[in-house]
Symmetry: C2
Subunit: 457 residues, 2 copies
């Protein structure tokens, strides 16, 4: 990006909205992968028109543009791997409308997910997607990656709550997709094509979100198991019994160990796995579901069952659950963090495989996550400074992926492909389908300026 381009960007953005210092660029260089790539500059637009002007300029001069939410992505979606201009949404962070009667919100991409949730809660409403990073991740990033979270087992993922978008194409046109009604089938479903496209097809500038009535009550259970297999087997049985928890989270022994210090009443040391299970709804409904669940577990589950004593303990359990991802780095300096999905009944096979794989490759591998929908976070822990260990880590990753696919699973449930999994994409997507995806990218972005080198191998 030469001086005349920077000058033109300056003109488009106005004062104090184009950052070029090393410090400012460094702040937009990283994400949760731990990798870092310096952009040439960082733009802080405030309007859709500014973003359209930036993209027209980028398309003309062929410099990369990388949309960036909060940098909490797990696969490198926001990393400026080829340099270029980062578009930060730090100043496009307004909730534009909450239409409580129709249960719809309109927000800019920079709004923090947890802040939207808090704002709609005041109207007795809920925005369900709840990635672990909800206190700092942004709606735009969630939309780009189709983020999930524990509540997905009952409520679905981000794509189920985005019903319309305003977005700018890499060639600068502003498009409006979807509806602000519950239903809509007019023209091609661009909204759902764009959600989960990892910032490679268009830059979102406005999101229209569906909301739900806020459940009035919640009840939380902790199940602890002496056997890993017993824990994972129970997951599919709970759902097959018609019980519909809003949380059905799993942690293995190692994941528990990593967060043990954060719990005032941690489970005993010999616990091999735990399930965190919640029900929500009206107070009546929750009481009844909790009763049915407790009876079911006493009959079927080979485990200890404990109901959270109070809100304080529930908050602590969640705090522990949400901090696993950073906490595991106390075990080893690096990790390969995957979010594979398998059919629910295959979880026992997956965790059995992981035990064998860890033993064979002499690695610490732990798993936790959204067992209710088969979406397991597998962390392969390592010290990358040891070349041989790093090699074994990569071998474990590839063997994990191949095994997951052999079970009828998929490489990612909520993190996307980004740069960390792009080499493995052809394991899951066959050549004609991959070719079609590349041709779609070409239609949106003929010059390949938007978030280059992501998704595709």
């Amino acid at each position: 990006m030469n001086k005349s381009i920077l000058k033109e960007l300056q003109r488009i953005l106005g004062k104090n909205s184009l950052l070029t210092s090393w410090e400012d660029r460094a702040c937009s260089s990283y994400d949760a992968t731990g990798q870092s790539f310096l952009p040439d500059a960082v733009a802080l637009p405030e309007t859709t028109a500014q973003i359209a002007a930036i993209l027209r300029l980028a398309n003309e001069h062929r410099f990369p543009v990388i949309p960036r939410g909060a940098g909490s992505g797990a696969t490198g979606g926001a990393l400026p791997v080829a340099g270029g201009l980062v578009i930060s949404f730090a100043r496009m962070n307004r909730i534009l409308e909450i239409d409580a009667a129709n249960m719809i919100a309109v927000a800019e991409p920079g709004v923090i997910t947890g802040e939207l949730q808090a704002a709609v809660r005041k109207h007795g409403l809920m925005y369900p997607p709840d990635p672990a990073s909800l206190k700092f991740c942004s709606l735009g990033g969630n939309a780009a990656e189709c983020a999930g979270g524990p509540s997905a087992v009952k409520y679905g993922v981000t794509r189920d709550y985005i019903i319309g978008l305003e977005a700018v194409l890499p060639t600068g046109e502003i498009i409006k997709t979807g509806v602000r009604t519950e239903k809509g089938v007019v023209g091609y479903d661009l909204t759902r094509l764009l959600v989960g496209s990892e910032g490679t097809l268009a830059v979102f500038t406005k999101l229209i979100l569906r909301l739900l009535p806020l459940p009035e009550a919640k009840s939380t259970f902790l199940l602890t198991f002496a056997s890993l297999a017993e824990a994972t087997k129970l997951v599919a049985e709970i759902l097959a019994a018609g019980l519909l928890p809003c949380t059905l989270e799993f942690m293995d022994k190692t994941a528990i160990a990593a967060v043990r210090s954060r719990l005032s009443s941690p489970p005993p040391e010999d616990v091999a796995a735990l399930l965190l299970v919640e029900f929500d709804g009206t107070a009546d409904e929750v009481a009844r579901q909790a009763g049915r669940f407790a009876a079911f577990v006493r009959q079927k589950g080979n485990c200890a069952l404990r109901q959270a004593a109070d809100e304080q303990e529930t908050a602590e359990l969640w705090q522990a659950r949400r901090s696993i991802s950073p906490a595991v780095l106390s075990l080893r300096p690096h990790k390969i963090a995957e979010d594979v999905v398998v059919p629910r009944t295959k979880i026992p096979e997956l965790v059995a495989f992981l035990e064998l794989l860890a033993a064979e490759l002499n690695l610490l591998i732990l798993s936790f996550g959204h067992a209710g929908d088969g979406n397991m976070h597998v962390n392969i822990m390592l010290d990358k400074s040891k070349a041989e260990e790093a090699r074994r880590g990569l071998e474990a990753k590839e063997r994990l992926f191949r095994f997951v696919l052999s079970l009828g699973g998929t490489l990612s449930g909520e993190h996307g492909i980004g740069i960390t999994k792009s080499a493995f994409l052809p394991l899951e997507i066959d050549p004609p389908t991959l070719c079609l995806m590349r041709r779609l990218k070409q239609v949106f972005d003929p010059n390949g300026i938007l978030n280059p080198e992501k998704i595709f191998p």
Copy 2:
């Protein structure tokens, strides 16, 4: 289509699988719009490979190919408007797999929706989408149009239950999209781009469907109102109160009149509107919800409330509801049938507008449908043999569309655009977005052979 093409099709399909008689072609010429266009021939393939070979041939010789389910579409999606070859799915009607433990089914497109529902019910499971035509429409057609139905208010529409597809591109390549797990974000979301694309982007050959546990009980209420405005106002209030019915259907006076003869205990003649409301879930849950609902209606609703006496009466109410569409033709020989959607709180404005419009244009206009999600079926009744009345009908349609859009609504909730609404598409979709849709069509179907003249003006 000349003789050498027919001969080649014969070779691809084998014996008794290419129909060319007038009678056979006539049977694939119509749909629920009442319009009819003769195809040149009808293919009855049994395999994906045959469909791929047909499309390669069509792409080479540039003849139109029109996928056809059961011909129950309401906007002309299956009509061979430019002649060519109809691909019938009459012989691709097998349920390939029901994985009850993972709540997934795999089916061919020709499976009748109601038959899939019955098959999964035996496993204690439910496939929610329930268009009025469910006893004869097909899964493939439902997927192409993204069909809805009364249950959408609680369970969503077809797109929410299709998680993966096998499909053939117009150029003959076979693609596989999506997953067979609850979550998945690998590559672009082709599944959801294809669902609702009205048979214009690819020919579906296999569907992977999500299922839910079958609710054990149901409770049905009939609410009758002396005032249309009171009925429509209550709809948004019911949902805002956190009540979540699995049916929240509306019928105005004229819709009731059309099906009155099908009810053994019809509502009084002076009823201006009715709501059909159902709750499902466990027996407990339903009893509790029904109790809350009855109390709510007694407090808020200016109406008579009656619980269906037994299964017999419930079945009769449903029979009446599902037969409105054909039954209204007893009122006038023709109808313009629309399925507009407005934000739920705007339904009272919509029905008030319809009353004025009917009076002003001297037309019989009735409305019924899925009030719970704002999706109203508006039928403009007429006798097309009277040219002046036909003209007024078209004027009413256009004014309806413009009014719906002014309320923040959309032209179609579940029927699609097809040929009946394509001229109006630019009212809803702006030029850059429409241009992008056309370019996507071009990528999939460079020679425009698949279901030509649909959706786009």
